[in-house]
Symmetry: D3
Subunit: 321 residues, 6 copies
């Protein structure tokens, strides 16, 4: 395992076995204790300087944006480290689910304007065309920061508490499942600093929530949206009373997903994203080509047998993927 | 009329005239009596072995998945019969609306794993490529089972009670309007048996409901979703207290739709599906080419005249289509 | 300024400064008084015969469909004047936001069947092909009536009271933000007059609200949908108790948007519409090409500075666009 | 073998072994003798009335349009039989390549106007909309006649002699490889009978030849194009002096293709057609999903081994597909 | 007739009857005499200042770029007048074919750099974003100059002599059929003046000729291509010895096309352009919706009858379109 | 300069100045001498083991596949090094054009079957699904090898001598301009080793040459195509008598392109590739967004001035890009 897993070592008495995860009442207290114990005091996991990566269970990776003293603002390092981090997760055949959250008092205050001023406010180049050329390269690179989340075939559950501003919305719309605390709020902030959001919000938010009138209102007015509205419009699928409960809930959901066949789960993600970007007939054509091999997995037999024997999938061992 | 219309014969005293359908209070009792009398004891309508097809009104076809003793599990015969059934409905110029429901205690338990094991679990072929080739042919054929519902230009109202599992969700997302009972629940079950859903759910569900976070959660966790959440997320547009009331409501809605110009209604379905799969400018271009002839229908004049004379469309006779 | 701004002249004592707009409590009363005073008695603004165009603030244009004696029915003149009106607004570098509403007792009763009978019911042509050719030209022209709203890069807030029928739904789905009064209702009326809606509803409504089952139900049954359902399904993003309050709210929202960088706001609209019609990777590629120059705006520096100095954007002067 | 193979029986002395096919000089004489002996006097192969289907070699199917007394005009039966015939070929796991040609003095004079007058010139329907609805169903059905050629994954070599008019051009542009005799000529005839070609020419011809100016000229003027121009513009890839030589050449090419791995060849066809209709990145994404299973074929090892041992593929036995 | 038809008046003795056009030998001499007499001395046709529009036959419009003293350089007026001119032609129900050529010694030297310097070299705007915004509006407007040629459903034959440089190539690639003289040469000149061609060449040239290597070479090196290479690569479909012969040939081809059903010819153009921009299945779906009405033209019966009676279409009268 | 430029050092007397390149007659002899002296004896340029990278001129990079003793077969290292090499070239703001060729007696014999057997013939994985998963990752990685050529915005001229087999065709179809010697031949070899070509040929070849019949023939039969046919079908745009002359010609063409504005040339490449994968209206929309900034380059003024002063662009200094 290539991550320095501080969190796991510190709480070695807390081992989430697959069985425990399913017995909800027994689980809640240790899960919440565990989560309450989580802190970003440990700080980022080297070589990362903005991310803390841990392994709450063998098949679950927890990634935390970890600059609490800067309100988790996204600085230059963050944009690059996310790409490395998620590329590693993609290659990590043990990992089956990712939980993403923010250290400290809030999820993220968005882009670190001070830290990135040179890139954004003073791009280089001998004339307008050359400046533009460089700006485009930079935006393209920054877009990749969140696109890697989609390219990673493992489901990514994002758990949001407190503020989620600007780049934070770009980030969470690239994740698969969104959970939040009751005190969370969201703000498509970009127009307020004079730009059209260009790393994902304008592209993904309209596909993530059902009301286009609301998408437009949020994008044009930069107003705050609180947890309840976020739930009723579909941006998040669940609200939790506080961060500890949410983290416990996220881990439980992650454990549930991690117990299923990775061939099934990751094939599902690949095809959900494909179908978002293609017509229904195109997407049907793609999945029949995808599944012509994937249905030949042993997981199908194992899962079917478990279903017939009414066994929990948590008692089944699937090969790595 | 090519369907053996048992239901209609048995309730010959119950004739849904267009007028009665619009006087709601008078209608409710006979409709509910009629529906209460409906049962799948009559069994499938030959030549079908899994479907019961009847004609509650001249312009309305009722299709029922009818293997109640097997919890309406989808066996090999079902996958083929659906295609024949809906192709016949497409060709039936009298029929203007379809109501689809399930016989017995629940809507459907999804794929009949036992009955289809040979196709899915032991596909033939001399090597992996040839097995894959055959698997792809099978999936393509099964996809057609639900795509015929979309290719049929008549609106399909699906009425769901009790469980709607796995293949059931693939089916209902291909229908046009979804109604359910208070006791209905839905489960995107495929990951639990080790596969990515490949006959429609992953392709259509994200276009059917507004919250992508919820779509993903359902597809990755295979958790149950109950009627209330289904209504609030937009999967169904109405909940009824029980099956009888729902069937009455479905028939009333079907009667309403059947009273309109079939040129207008079926053109609407064709273009709604086209516009789902194309950009807005593409879809506008298509409908102006579609309507250049369709606006030349006599139905336009008849409908406009009825509107001006404040007559009900139920008193207007439109030609078959 | 090329519009005859009657409204502004009549209420010269009411000047919405940027600062006032942000002090909500102080604002409400004059705003509501102003709005209460608004009437369509002044009638259309020449050269328009169906539209009244005014300038409630320097950067906000108010367009009102103004045939109250005909229930704002859309006659031949309306279809053409909308195109001229919005093309002018597109070219008007002062204007940053548009508010659209209806004069009199209701928003619009939709197409003026009587006034357009010749075009629709008796198109010209020597044979069916030639009639069809002409019908297609007419539809294409009418589609443009609402597409200009999308092609105009300035956000369009539509405020709906009372009935919004048929062509009215086509119109409002082409606007960016939808507000309505508690007494508003919506009706996709086209099937009732024998045609498939061909100027936008079938193409845009499914992208505007989250429940496809509901879209289909509305389009097939032509039933009315009232304000509360419109809000819960996402068609409108806010309900107001009455028209005056709504107009005040619309103007306040317009003022808020108008205070932001027009480069940011209009770039946002262009890219939101682009991303609706393209896949996420396509839309990301487009915005990075768009922003390679747009990020070189002075507005970015001005806005960033205001943000850091905690100043309101309403105190910042942006150049025209 | 489900085809009544008259041709093969009649020429039982002529057996094309794989080895003979590769020894070109020895082959030419018997091939040409065989072909010279071919005639359509035997007539169509029941149950077909317009097609003669034979099996010149185990893995090669020869389909001949066979109404020589009517200049191979395409009548109602032809449009339906083509679909049955190619669907059978698709299912026939022995067949690896198809050769298509015309019986008698010319390839085809195109649509049989007399025989199809009722469909085309007098379509049924109560009003213009309903007539149009029926016309559309008919065209869709006729389009399928040639689209089945593309949906069949086996390469189709078409050999054209004499006239190839109207529907003939629609047909040959749906084939994979086009050969012709020196006396062949081609005519996109549709404008001459008052219609825009709607069963494939306008859609496929521009993708088949390189000069758009020429495509347009042919489609607008309906002028004849002779063999030499057809070769230089890329419509055909080879010209032969006469029909016998051409048929020998077609069979030799068919034999060559039939000797290769069917997994490779048919995967190639599927992906060539996919890539025609998609962007390069889309098509690359599709083939990597396709080949993830198809590369697991034994044919790869067999072929690689043959290549290394410098053996002819004609000496290798591949499994059926 | 809304064009001041100088050319026609001057050569009133030359009347191209439909019959004459088909008797080639008799035609050649008067055609060439007529053409020899053509000159641009008459100058532009008011209200145009850069275009001369005439009517060599009732159904044929001849448009000539007419600034011979400036080597037909494209100035500001030209870009606007083209749009007006082709919009008028689109609306002109008499006109069935357009011939486009250049007055004086060469076809066109391309963009008039001097005359357009302000637009291109010194665009307005308060900052880079606003300058870019204006530049984009200008390019969009200029793109329309050639896109109108495609939107016009009448075939456009372009006849090129001498130089065809820069914008000239953008223009001719938007035309349908390209003819040239032996002394013609073509140059994709844009890189030589420091820009990527943005009004059509990069978009259309690769679809117009078959060799992508050649397209790229021409676009990157800006080298000249002479008539013979233009013919062999498919850019032009015919070469003529000199301008007079070419104009006679263009008129003859125009006469040939004009003699066919305009429903067939213009439907062919609309669908050829649609199919260029869509996949084959999409394009087939479009044409079956198009033809469901267009096949109901009387032209079909008239043309079919003429075909059966072996009459020339030039003796048939079709209604205007 | 980060490449170890052996070639340049060895031939320090040979300096291609911009001026010399344009005086063709004087140039030919030294160019040919220089080229004659080129050999792969110097071997690959570290850190590359399969590629030799040199700098024949300041703005031109020469990449040579350099495993002559293995007939330039593509081994594992090659697939990775190509990506690094072209990514470096993309970042190298001095380089404006790339020339690609093969060392030794032929261009390339294609994939190194022996060296890659483990990847292709024995992929890892616990079951068919997992093997397929890995195979897909490998193919995706190998596709990138040639896609980087397209993603690099600098034009790539490929110069082919002798054999160009299998993977070689995938490679050259991803290049922009293709030149070859008289003794060159091409072979789409993949079906002969039992697979459908999956790293570019099936996707790009049909867009590179004009005859689809020929594309199919080459892909299905794996026959050789010689230089003359390659020229006449448009695969290559020029044939040279021998390798030395070809290299001189390639360098001259490269010099010509390198003399132009890099903003213009590289914008041209980006847009040519974009337009290949999009419809014409989409591509026009993209380039107007691209050029809104790129037209603000100083290169436009410099180039325009040179054009007006009839100066050679080789005397103009453009900034790096």
């Amino acid at each position: 395992n290539k991550y320095i897993n501080k969190w796991q070592r510190r709480f070695s008495t807390f081992i989430i076995t697959r069985k425990e995860l399913s017995t909800k009442s027994a689980l809640l207290i240790p899960l919440m204790n565990a989560v309450r114990g989580m802190s970003s005091s440990g700080g980022p996991t080297p070589p990362f300087t903005t991310l803390s990566v841990s392994r709450p269970a063998e098949t679950i990776t927890h990634v935390e944006i970890c600059r609490p003293e800067k309100r988790n603002a996204m600085n230059k390092a963050f944009w690059l480290e996310m790409v490395d981090c998620f590329n590693q997760i993609t290659e990590d055949s043990e990992c089956r689910v990712v939980v993403f959250s923010g250290a400290g008092k809030l999820f993220t205050s968005g882009i670190d304007l001070m830290g990135m001023a040179s890139d954004i406010l003073q791009p280089e180049g001998d004339d307008t065309a050359r400046i533009s050329w460089n700006v485009r390269r930079i935006i393209t690179k920054y877009q990749e920061t969140f696109s890697v989340i989609e390219k990673c075939p493992k489901p990514v559950i994002v758990a949001i508490h407190g503020a989620c501003i600007g780049g934070g919305v770009d980030l969470i719309t690239a994740c698969d499942i969104r959970l939040c605390t009751q005190d969370a709020w969201f703000q498509v902030k970009e127009v307020d600093i004079g730009l059209a959001a260009d790393v994902g919000t304008l592209q993904r938010l309209p596909r993530v929530i059902g009301s286009r009138s609301l998408v437009n209102e949020l994008a044009f007015t930069a107003r705050k949206m609180y947890a309840d509205e976020a739930k009723s419009c579909g941006l998040v699928s669940r609200i939790f009373p506080d961060k500890d409960t949410m983290m416990a809930g996220a881990l439980e959901m992650a454990g549930e997903i991690a117990s299923k066949s990775p061939v099934a789960v990751q094939g599902t993600k690949v095809n959900l994203i494909y179908s978002r970007d293609h017509s229904v007939p195109e997407a049907l054509n793609y999945i029949n080509t995808w599944n012509m091999s994937m249905l030949q997995t042993q997981d199908l037999m194992k899962s079917a047998q478990a279903a017939m024997e009414k066994k929990s999938l948590k008692d089944i061992t699937f090969s790595k993927l």
